[in-house]
Amino acid sequence: MLSRRIIPCLDVRDGQVVKGVRFRDHVAMGGIVDLALRYRDEGADELVFYDITASPEGRSVDRGWVEKVARVIDIPFCVAGGIRSVDEARAVLHAGADKVSVNSPALERPELVDELAAAFGVQCVVVGVDSLRDADGEWRVRQYTGDPSKTRALPRRTLDWVIEAQRRGAGEIVLNCMGSDGVRRGYDLAQLEVVRAVCQVPLIASGGAGTPEHFRDAFAEADVDGALAASVFHSGVIAIPALKHYLQAQGVQVRISLLRMD
């Protein structure tokens, strides 16, 4: 039986891991490789690296660190940030990433998802969706969220985009619920449940984790496959081993390995 995945998210800017509140006001958290190793040792199931400035600045992700991470890390990791072509994705995958995640460039040109799936298989293609509820009660997607001055609200409904992305070849969806991000009041369960109902590929919850109960709710109520979080892990508010033991006690299937290499 598949385990539910705990996924620390490392927002990368200028070679450092940073974290902001509601996608703003970023502060440095530490070096990329150091944090990646720390999370691997603590039992993270997967890592996601977002080059948060790549997309708004119109450049691709800086790849030097991808290979450094791939050399030392023995859990899967996904790289996101301004990947806008098959060639750029190939470079990141060849540097050792297991998956690439596309967000703003896929909104600019949805065919990118088809092209990536055809080139590498759907298992390598993650579509990140930044979503916010508008005044009319509808969830819609946001673009270029790495830079608040460039963030754009699109007319595209989140549900429509999730369905289209799967049809085009997304092998996994990461739903960033911007309204709950960074404030640690829990994942947006209402939105996750609605998206889950139309999502046949793995769905990863993102935005809002503050307590172990929030993770349990996302798994038990919204039936997500993985839960992504950043600040609660970076700051040490939640330790991954304790979180996994809590989830196991709550009846959530998780990975707790007893094996140590001699």
Partner: protein, 196 residues
């Protein structure tokens, strides 16, 4: 000891190579028949589809060579599927070293395909490849096609139904999961392979 990685064009080759380096084995990436035949251990990695994978082996003239190898061989992920007789994926004739037919996961409501994530390994047969592996330890899988359970199965995992997570027949071995991405469990199993 010499280890070679058969360059069949997958994208996870770098990761497998780094995993071997972490275990102190420097594996050459090669499609050269003489180098493969001379190696002590041969690893066939691979991400992608069965059809292009076999086409690439054929192009490189490696099909008969792979079949004739007598040293320990390990197929990883698609590499394990290529060791089998046939794959439903693109209706592809494979190497025929494991007499199994690779099938797509059956569609069930609520069963997500690709099977992507950490899943428990259940040991079916004693084998040196499994040394030190306790029941329920997990490995990282990413695949939509699977090898059914049969006499070749060393360990199973379950996704809707049980399937082969590890196989062996003679000197040919396979891991459906990615040992290079399966933390200490994967490192242990790769180490076991290097010590066969």
């Amino acid at each position: 000891m010499s280890v070679v990685l058969v360059d069949a064009g997958g994208t996870n080759i770098g990761s497998v190579r780094y995993a071997l380096q972490r275990l102190g084995a420097d594996a050459a990436l090669t499609s050269d028949a003489a180098a493969i035949r001379a190696a002590d251990k041969v690893i066939l990695p691979g991400v992608g589809a069965a059809g292009p994978g076999m086409a690439r082996l054929r192009e490189l003239g490696l099909v008969e060579l792979m079949r004739s190898l007598t040293q320990p061989v390990l197929g990883v992920c698609l590499g394990m599927q290529l060791l089998c007789a046939h794959s439903e994926e693109g209706d592809t004739e494979c190497l025929g070293l494991i007499p199994a037919k690779v099938r797509r996961f059956a569609e069930h409501p609520g069963l997500r395909v690709p099977h992507m994530g950490w899943n428990g390994l259940s040991v079916q047969h004693e084998h040196p490849l499994l040394a030190g592996l306790d029941e329920g330890e997990q490995a990282y899988f990413v695949h939509s096609y699977a090898v059914p359970v049969g006499e070749w199965t060393l360990a199973t995992a379950e996704h809707g139904e049980a399937f082969s997570a590890m196989v062996a027949r003679g000197n040919f071995h396979g891991m459906q999961f990615h040992p290079e991405r399966s933390a200490a469990v994967g490192a242990k199993l790769l180490k076991n392979f290097l010590e066969l």
